[in-house]
């Protein structure tokens, strides 16, 4: 499955899909989409990269990427962001929003507005952590399906 047409198409399409997935994750509190959707789009771009390349290339490329560490970082970060609400409030309380924190802590305008990226509080952090978790999990499933492939049928 590694013909020249597929390789060229993948080389052009993969950066666009990855940028679109990152955009959906980062703008989760403003536009449709969120952590799960953006992570799924990002993982589909990585799956395109995995399917369209040779076995040895993928193996040497993904040996240095700690996907299980990403998965754990996503789960623990999500729980930690939820536990931040214990500082005076309840679990899952949005404490960073409207507090003047420099990242994602700006004042949210009420009513119809164009949408400012520096708002959202813990929702934006939760979007990013869930996105990291989903992309690591789905990519590792596709990667393990690819890596258990028998060597003698590698031509296809």
């Amino acid at each position: 499955m590694t013909t020249t047409i597929i390789k060229t198409t993948t080389k052009i399409l993969t950066p666009l899909i990855l940028v679109f997935g990152s955009y959906i994750i980062l703008h989760g509190h403003l536009t449709p989409g969120g952590g799960f959707q953006g992570g799924a789009v990002f993982a589909s771009g990585l799956a395109l990269l995995i399917v369209a390349n040779k076995y040895e290339t993928i193996k040497t490329l993904f040996e240095k990427v700690p996907l299980s560490v990403f998965e754990s970082i996503g789960a623990l970060g999500f729980l930690g962001m939820a536990c931040l609400g214990f500082a005076g409030y309840t679990f899952f309380k949005n404490v960073i929003a409207n507090s003047g924190f420099p990242i994602f802590g700006g004042k949210t305008p009420v009513g119809i507005n164009p949408g400012y990226l520096n708002t959202g509080g813990t929702l934006s952090y939760m979007n990013i952590f869930v996105g990291i978790k989903v992309l690591a999990g789905l990519t590792s499933i596709v990667l393990i399906f690819f890596l258990i492939m028998r060597r003698e049928r590698d031509e296809w």
């Binding site: 449709p32 989409g33 799960f36 799924a40 789009v41 399917v51 596709v142 028998r150």
Partner: protein, 87 residues
């Protein structure tokens, strides 16, 4: 053509497309063709979600249903035999 006529024509076309792709995915004996028909089914279903004003579900369906499960099924078929065994 006003908006409601376009909406109902689109609904009928999406229904016919869903039915045809589902029947094709069931009836084909070549497994790779069946998997591609399932990807087409997921893509038409995500278009239906978008028409019904649920863009979140449309993005999730297009990402997971049309790309990731197709890649998983293709890799699983590649790990086993290509043709369905008929006895």
């Amino acid at each position: 053509m006003n908006f409601m006529e376009f909406f109902w024509i689109l609904q009928v076309l999406i229904g016919i497309g869903l039915l045809i792709s589902a029947i094709v995915a069931i009836r084909f004996k070549n497994l790779i063709m069946a998997v591609i028909a399932m990807a087409v089914f997921s893509l038409i279903l995500s278009l239906e979600f978008y028409v019904l004003q649920a863009p979140d579900v449309a993005i999730a369906e297009a990402g997971v249903g049309a790309c990731l499960t197709t890649a998983m099924y293709l890799l699983a078929i590649k790990n086993t035999t290509d043709e369905e065994v008929i006895e």
